[in-house]
């Protein structure tokens, strides 16, 4: 009697099974990665003594309940906010900031370390407008930091890299460059243009 080979398994339904699984994963997939504006809230305990800050070192931004902006007591459009914030931060009024490109106006901020942006909003302010303003202010800081990164980078061997890229590279495990050196540059820039943004909500 001839030896019979085992009958082949019918694989016709394999495709159906795979399709079923495929459709399941297609439906449950969310591709987008979470992104957003990262901020740090101030801790709860208030310091005992009031720090006296000169009025010229504060850049006040008020968003009212109709989402209008009042910047340094003048009405401003959202699109002009970033430039105004950059001008304020980069002013360098007391001359101690040798990397500032500002106009050194005596009635504006002394140096980037002293300059504080104060953001006030009302309860009725819309969240969309608040995020837009936050975005513009963070954008102003990033603009200055990027510019500084392009100045400082070449002397440390990081040519044509802005601040955002430096931070990205620092977090990237696959990046082959010198991380300790990069960290030094990043920290220095953060110290030269510190993000000092205080927030108040008026009732």
């Amino acid at each position: 009697m001839a030896k019979r080979s085992a009958p082949a398994v019918n694989a016709g339904s394999m495709a159906d099974i795979a399709f079923l699984l495929l459709i399941f994963f297609l439906v449950t997939t969310t591709m987008e990665k979470d992104s957003g504006i990262t901020r740090k809230l101030p801790p709860m305990e208030e310091s005992e003594e009031d720090v006296i800050i000169k009025q010229k070192n504060i850049f006040t931004v008020l968003i009212n309940n109709k989402d209008q902006l009042l910047v340094e007591d003048e009405i401003m459009e959202l699109k002009d906010l970033r430039a105004a914030a950059v001008e304020f931060l980069d002013n360098g009024g007391d001359g101690s900031c040798d990397y500032c490109n500002g106009i050194k106006d005596q009635s504006s901020s002394d140096n980037p370390d002293k300059a504080i942006i104060s953001l006030k909003n009302l309860r009725e302010t819309s969240y969309a407008q608040y995020i837009s303003v936050q975005n513009e202010l963070v954008g102003a800081y990033n603009e200055l930091r990027n510019r500084r990164a392009l100045q400082l980078g070449p002397s440390s061997g990081f040519r044509d890299m802005n601040f955002i890229e430096m931070q990205k590279k620092y977090k990237d495990v696959k990046w082959p460059g010198n991380k300790t050196k990069l960290k030094e540059v990043v920290d220095r820039i953060k110290l030269e243009y510190p993000q000092k943004l205080s927030e108040v909500q008026e009732q």
Binding site: A15, T28, G36, I37, L41, R123, S132, Q134
Partner: protein
């Protein structure tokens, strides 16, 4: 006369579908790898605002999500005011402290300082609610926050 005479017919030969499962499996694996299961069923409207200075949130397991927005059409009975959603249900502002505590308890102790709170707030909500959330977070010392936003131009926010 041959016994095995070939049938002469105009039938087209069927397309070989033997490799179809392979193709489908390939797609399947791609989606399996790319899938992130939705953790919460949203009961609120959640249209995030746009911003162009966004940073990506890495380490998904170290993120706590707080949602806020108007109740969606199925939950009209909850009113039209923006509400907070924690996990799968509506919550009030004072439940945030308990939520943060339970999230912290579920993580390894050494990872707790790295936890970030992601605020996924509908762009039509107003700042009163967001301010209350922020105040609660300060009380429980959860200071790292992230305002979730979609990369895009801010001018789209006011439409």
């Amino acid at each position: 006369m041959s016994k095995f005479k070939k049938k002469k017919g105009g039938d087209l030969p069927a397309v070989n579908t033997a490799s179809l499962p392979d193709i489908v499996f390939m797609l399947l694996f791609f989606f399996m790898v790319a899938t992130v299961m939705r953790e919460n069923t949203l009961k609120i409207e959640n249209k995030l605002p746009n911003a162009d200075q966004v940073e990506k949130l890495e380490k998904k397991d170290l993120v706590m999500y707080i949602y806020a927005g108007k109740p969606s059409s199925n939950y009209k009975k909850m009113g039209t005011e923006a509400r907070i959603q924690l996990n799968d249900d509506f919550a009030s502002v004072d439940e945030i402290a308990a939520f943060i505590a339970s999230e912290r308890a579920s993580k390894r102790e050494e990872l707790v300082p790295f936890l970030t709170t992601s605020l996924k707030v509908d762009k039509e909500a107003n700042m009163g609610l967001v301010g209350d959330i922020k105040q609660e977070l300060r009380k429980v010392n959860a200071l790292k926050i992230n305002y979730a936003a979609i990369p895009g131009d801010v001018s789209k926010n006011n439409q």
